[in-house]
């Protein structure tokens, strides 16, 4: 599997995971000059929270857990991206947070998704 294909497959798995948990997908692969946000979603419930997700996908654990590849530098950039996106919105967004989703794609079997909420705080 090619590198970009692994990334795409991981994002698909992450989106499925979020949808199963009742999240609404707002946007995917939003880009600006600073970089890209993999998934922007909204939590279910009466007080929805806007969630900016960084997805990291790997096919094996030889180089460590996928989540270990999400560094503080990436998170800092993600927070910047989130603020940029929010600035472009016409309405007021009362609550938002930054999440990390690690996807492990084994050669056979279902992808394993690990979702860590609120890593940017």
């Amino acid at each position: 599997m090619e590198k970009s294909a692994v990334g795409r497959a991981g994002e698909v798995a992450a989106v499925q995971h979020l949808v199963t948990r009742g999240y609404t997908i707002v946007e995917r692969n939003w880009r600006c000059s600073l970089g890209e946000v993999d998934i922007i979603a909204q939590t279910p419930g009466a007080e929805p929270v806007l969630v900016f997700c960084e997805v990291k996908c790997r096919t094996g654990l030889g180089y460590g857990d996928p989540l270990e590849a999400i560094t503080w530098r990436k998170l800092a950039r993600l927070r910047q991206l989130a603020l940029t996106w929010l600035g472009e919105q016409p309405g007021w967004v009362p609550r938002y947070r930054v999440d990390a989703i690690g996807v492990l794609l084994p050669r056979s079997g279902r992808p394993q998704v690990t979702h860590v909420e609120g890593v940017g705080a």
Binding site: D65, L67, E68, V119
Partner: protein
Amino acid sequence: MSTARAFSVALVGVEGAIVEVEAALGGGLPRMVIVGLADAALGEARERCRAAVHSQGLGWPTQLVTVNLSPATLPKAGSHFDLAIVTSVCAAADRFDSAVLDGMVLLGELGLDGRVRSVRGLLPALLAAVASGFHTAVVPACQLGEARLVDGLTIWGVDDLLDLVAVLVGDPPPQVVRAPQQAVDTTEPVKDLSDVMGQLEAKWALEVAAAGRHHVFLHGPPGVGKTLLAERLPGLLPDLGQSEALEVSAIHSLAGLPLSDGLVRRPPFADPHHSASLASIVGGGARMALPGSISRAHRGVLFLDEASNGKCTSLSKEVTDDDEDEAAWRERAAGSGDAGGGLPGVQSDGAEHAGRGHAADLSVSAAVEVSQGQGGCDRASAS
């Protein structure tokens, strides 16, 4: 978020303080954080523990691992917390029933391949554990001999992480007391006064000094046998009592000397070279204080050869600084080279005030030699 705790001991001089090692899993991206005033060696436990657990195929939690060393205000130093850290993390990950950790202290450094390495100060640490009501201890297998000197503890010696896991899941390996790594007989033959020809008055003076625990000042021309005589003073002293032997052995353990042969039973003898630095004589260190010559002579004999040539004068100043009874102290120190002190150099206030002894408890006998015509005798008097 799951939490668990294990216990270890922090050393402050020769005193031990129980440290609770708490581990919490979850709440963030996978990494490990150690809080609770850890020094550099302890902070690097992060990498050692993870590599050791990986190498034994045990699996490190892919979550945020927070380790807290409590009491958080007590500075902690050394690598011997590794075993307690790994144990608390594995307990938090539900690898075994954490009830087994009640009343258990763990001491040992981990190698990257999961081996358990020996640590400094095991004996004083275990003594502190017993005093705090602990009943079980896990120690490096190569230090079982030293650990067994402490009464009232069930001791498990572990060679590597797999041994540790076996102990924790209640399937301990058979206990084998290994021979010390180097089969060196550390007990030197006691030197005897009968080696000395003549010098009847000097021998008599030494015997009086040994009997009354007095200090000795040796003064004479080169080559008359002052050093020969001084080296034989410990041989005149009686064996150490049980509590004295424990004190002396604790200091030797802190200095990193092997104690696999049992407690130190003979009064120790320390003879620092006259050019020795102040730190090597009074002891000290950034965080984990190392005993100096004075402490290594505890309950024994401190021999200051060629005293007037070296650091003795500055030493006496260091010892007496800030002492309430400074003038009297200075006179005594200058006269006899005596440093006094229950455990000078390593006593409770640690590195910063290392060397401040207690004038009341004179537990070190000192022999000072000043060669003729080299000054110093005007200041010196037999005490």
